[in-house]
């Protein structure tokens, strides 16, 4: 059993409610932080912990916090990004649904560290029932004196507000989120200025993912140094992985970042192996935006080393032979899955979710979708594959926000690793609509008995 810091108590009966959560040791970190630590000392602990943002980019949280501007007389805000709309990612939902007070606890400590008296949770619109759970938890926490005026007699005031999104993936991008929170159209802002200088209502703002903020609780309880001992290298602490696809046990798992990808997929403690006796073909290890990897590059890096479930190892080899940790949405594809169709599905998503502000993303995503549809239906040509490559290349890096990159990478990776499958679709316009290219040379190195 690996170490569990976030979900350890998630299945205690009634943990969703304040009384049980408190009885199980909840809110200790608030007492410790507010009564015995200065805001600067908390930021220091978070820096020492090595915690990296769990929302996708993996930016060191302590460093992000230390960038926040502190102009005299201007309020600052902490915003929790609970928009979780990346296909394949459903870890924040799990955390908020089962153990909402853990998030609130992390939010109170973080608000104190950043000097935010009004803190917002921006939650994905479709998570309507979780909004109710959070609202209830906030009421309970307030009644118990953890929120409101003069918390624990320390003079610190803090309110937490929940704001629901209206169903746009782009509102998970932090500056689009801020626009939406302000009641505007959720278009990403042009940076600089960054939120740390000008965020919500032009005030200094920190936006962090749900899991990042929840991780502040064990960091304060254990101390940054102890937290940093869990995991390896620059991948410290634990990470929630939402596993889905053709595996026996889809679900949310908390891992310490030392286990191998192979163990994660095939051990009974985690995914339990491939479903229905099928074999592993490919995997998108960090949510739909990150590059897909064929089985042979997934379990071992190009250097032949075992690939580990952490930031460094998953990105080993760059985009040529590696991928990214991303948001921890782990999508497993078996031998029956068609890469062309899968890529088309993703392209459709990005076309639908582009905000449409910048021309490469607005026009390029739609174009890629149409070409992929044609290829999937066996109506494409060889030159379509090169055209796709060229389109994604012209989008990547040339847009306002990373959604453009997120739309380009899956297409690039699919062509990079599975070009023969695309070509097969062109060469077999009839067959490709009724049968599957299958595994071919992407076979997993692990033998799985039928």
């Amino acid at each position: 059993m690996g170490v569990k810091l976030l979900l350890e108590k998630a299945h205690v009966e009634g943990i969703r409610y304040y009384d049980v959560y408190r009885r199980e040791g909840g809110y200790r970190s608030v007492e410790k932080a507010l009564k015995t630590m200065s805001p600067e000392a908390i930021v220091e602990e978070v820096k020492k912990s090595g915690l990296r943002g769990r929302g996708g980019a993996g930016f060191p949280t302590g460093m992000k916090w230390s960038f926040i501007a502190k102009p005299e007389g201007v309020p600052r805000h902490l915003v929790c990004n609970a928009d979780e709309s990346e296909p394949g990612t459903f870890k924040d939902r799990y955390l908020m649904e089962f153990i909402p007070h853990l998030l609130l606890e992390g939010l109170i400590v973080s608000s104190f560290a950043l000097g935010s008296n009004a803190t917002y949770i921006y939650i994905r619109g479709e998570y309507a029932w979780i909004t109710d759970i959070l609202e209830q938890a906030i009421t309970e926490a307030k009644n118990a004196g953890w929120l409101g005026k003069n918390i624990l007699g320390t003079g610190f005031d803090c309110e937490i507000y929940v704001q629901r999104g209206a169903g746009a993936y782009i509102c998970g991008e932090e500056t689009a989120l801020i626009e939406s929170l302000e009641g505007k159209r959720g278009n990403p802002r042009i940076k600089p200025p960054f939120p740390a200088i000008k965020g919500v209502w032009d005030r200094p703002t920190v936006v962090n993912n749900v899991e990042t903020l929840a991780a502040v609780v064990p960091i304060i309880n254990l101390g940054g140094d102890e937290y940093a001992k869990i995991g390896v290298g620059r991948s410290t602490g634990t990470k929630l992985i939402s596993a889905c696809g053709n595996i026996k046990k889809p679900g949310v798992y908390e891992i310490d970042m030392t286990i191998s990808v192979e163990e994660f997929i095939f051990s009974d403690e985690y995914c339990g192996g491939m479903a229905n006796g099928k074999r592993l073909k490919a995997c998108i290890p960090g949510g739909s935006s990150v590059p897909i990897l064929p089985a042979n590059l997934l379990l071992k890096t190009a250097k032949g080393e075992t690939r580990i479930m952490n930031y460094e190892s998953l990105s080993d080899g760059g985009f040529a032979t590696g991928s990214m940790m991303g948001s921890g949405g782990f999508i497993v594809l078996d031998e029956d899955q068609c890469i062309v169709k899968n890529t088309y599905t993703l392209a459709r998503f990005y076309r639908h979710e582009s905000c449409g502000q910048c021309s490469p993303c607005r026009e390029g995503t739609g174009w890629m979708e149409k070409i992929l549809k044609r290829l999937d239906e066996g109506k494409g040509s060889m030159s379509d594959i090169d055209l796709l490559w060229d389109i994604q290349r012209k989008i990547e890096g040339n847009t306002i926000c990373p959604l453009g990159d997120a739309a380009a990478w899956p297409v690039a990776a699919a062509i990079r690793h599975f070009r023969d499958e695309f070509e097969w679709h062109v060469l077999h316009p009839e067959r490709c609509t009724t049968e599957n290219y299958g595994l071919r040379h992407y076979a997993d190195p692990v033998y799985v008995p039928a």
């Binding site: 746009a168 782009i170 159209r185 042009i190 076309r351 639908h352 979710e353 582009s354 905000c355 449409g356 502000q357 910048c358 021309s359 490469p360 607005r362 026009e363 390029g364 995503t365 739609g366 174009w367 149409k370 055209l387 012209k394 890096g397 040339n398 847009t399 306002i400």
Partner: protein
């Protein structure tokens, strides 16, 4: 004034005040060094950053931190640092990305220039001519929208829109009402007014002037004439609402169109009375008699557009003649706009501008 910062763009060094953007600095150099800008509009706060035509490469960040910037940056929204070195037309990366952007902008564009009122003064035409390719690799149906009337004077052809947001900023900043914006997202986004509400504000006509393409057109001018057959003159009148300083687009003694005065970047000029020379709806749409105005004289159209004669050098005239193309039929009226444009010929007096088309021709049913 603070100290001046040195910035080198395509090997030419200029000195600019702190806070200047790369684009503004490049415009000081002028010519080809100035990146094309389809969405940025210096008079509109918050504009820019969207179309990505102005991308440039920063090969040296600054004197203090000489590291190059990893990505191409939008020059309209990136401020200059001291000692910065920028590559625009000297960078293959930039030219490649820009060709991509032009292709993206034209992807769903209807290319209906022959029936578009903006033709001849369209920034997208210029951009395609200067940075685009002659063909497209797009083989799908282009998206379409219905035409919409935005009030009595303005028509929206969403098919032509490049979503530069200039009109949104204009409506927001000049009229202080939030009734004109963008609905939906991605390639299905569209400019719209709040529940089909008419735009009735006194200054809303300016959205026509800021629109770089023919998406917002003046209903009092639609299909009345091609801009290259009309002749712009500077004129003014006493107006209590706006500065009253305009350009009249005339043919003979007839006023076909009234617009604000534009500078060499296609933006509305400063008024001689101070501030930006935005004009009101009354001046634009209702004062269509030459007698309504005090005419100052022919305006200099310095914009490098089709209407500026001789701009399109090296274009190859098609070998086929009209008669070939039309299988022996003689067209009733044809012309080569490069030979005919009257706009930049101050020596041609207004009264001589009479053929080939006059509005009375349109009057005959």
């Amino acid at each position: 004034m603070g100290d001046l910062l040195k910035v080198t763009i395509d090997n030419i060094t200029v000195e600019v005040p702190n806070g200047t953007t790369i684009l503004q600095a490049a415009r000081l150099v002028g010519g080809e060094v100035a990146p094309p800008a389809m969405c940025y509009y210096s008079k509109l706060e918050g504009s820019g950053g969207k179309c990505r035509t102005c991308l440039v490469e920063v090969s040296k960040g600054s004197e203090k931190d000489p590291r190059p910037m990893p990505k191409l940056v939008a020059s309209c929204r990136t401020t200059v640092m001291d000692g910065m070195e920028v590559k625009n037309i000297t960078s293959d990366r930039v030219l490649d990305a820009r060709a991509g952007v032009v292709e993206f902008l034209l992807l769903n564009h209807p290319l209906d220039c022959p029936i578009c009122d903006q033709a001849g003064e369209c920034h997208l035409q210029d951009l395609s001519y200067e940075h685009g390719k002659s063909g497209t690799r797009y083989e799908f149906q282009r998206r379409t929208f219905k035409k919409h009337d935005l009030g009595d004077y303005i028509q929206l052809h969403m098919t032509r829109c490049i979503l530069c947001y200039r009109c949104v900023f204009t409506a927001d900043q000049l009229t202080k009402t939030r009734e004109h914006g963008v609905l939906d997202r991605g390639d299905h986004a569209e400019i719209a007014t709040f529940i089909e509400k008419n735009l009735q504000n006194d200054f809303i006509g300016n959205v026509i002037d800021v629109c770089p393409v023919g998406a917002l057109t003046d209903k009092t001018f639609r299909f009345k004439n091609r801009v290259w057959f009309t002749k712009p003159v500077d004129a003014h009148r006493e107006c209590t609402t706006c500065c009253g300083e305009v350009q009249l687009w005339m043919r003979g003694d007839e006023v076909f169109r009234v617009t604000a005065r534009k500078d060499e970047w296609g933006e509305v000029k400063e008024s001689t009375k101070g501030g930006t020379g935005w004009i009101c709806n009354t001046c634009r749409f209702e004062k269509k008699q030459a007698t309504d105005w005090v005419i100052e004289g022919p305006s200099e159209v310095s914009r490098h557009s089709v209407i500026g004669q001789g701009h399109y050098v090296n274009t190859v005239k098609p070998k086929e003649t009209f008669t070939d193309v039309m299988k022996g039929l003689e067209p009733r009226l044809y012309m080569d706009i490069h030979d005919i444009s009257e706009v930049n010929k101050p020596e041609v007096s207004l009264s001589l501008l009479d053929r080939p088309a006059h509005s009375t021709d349109f009057g005959k049913k």
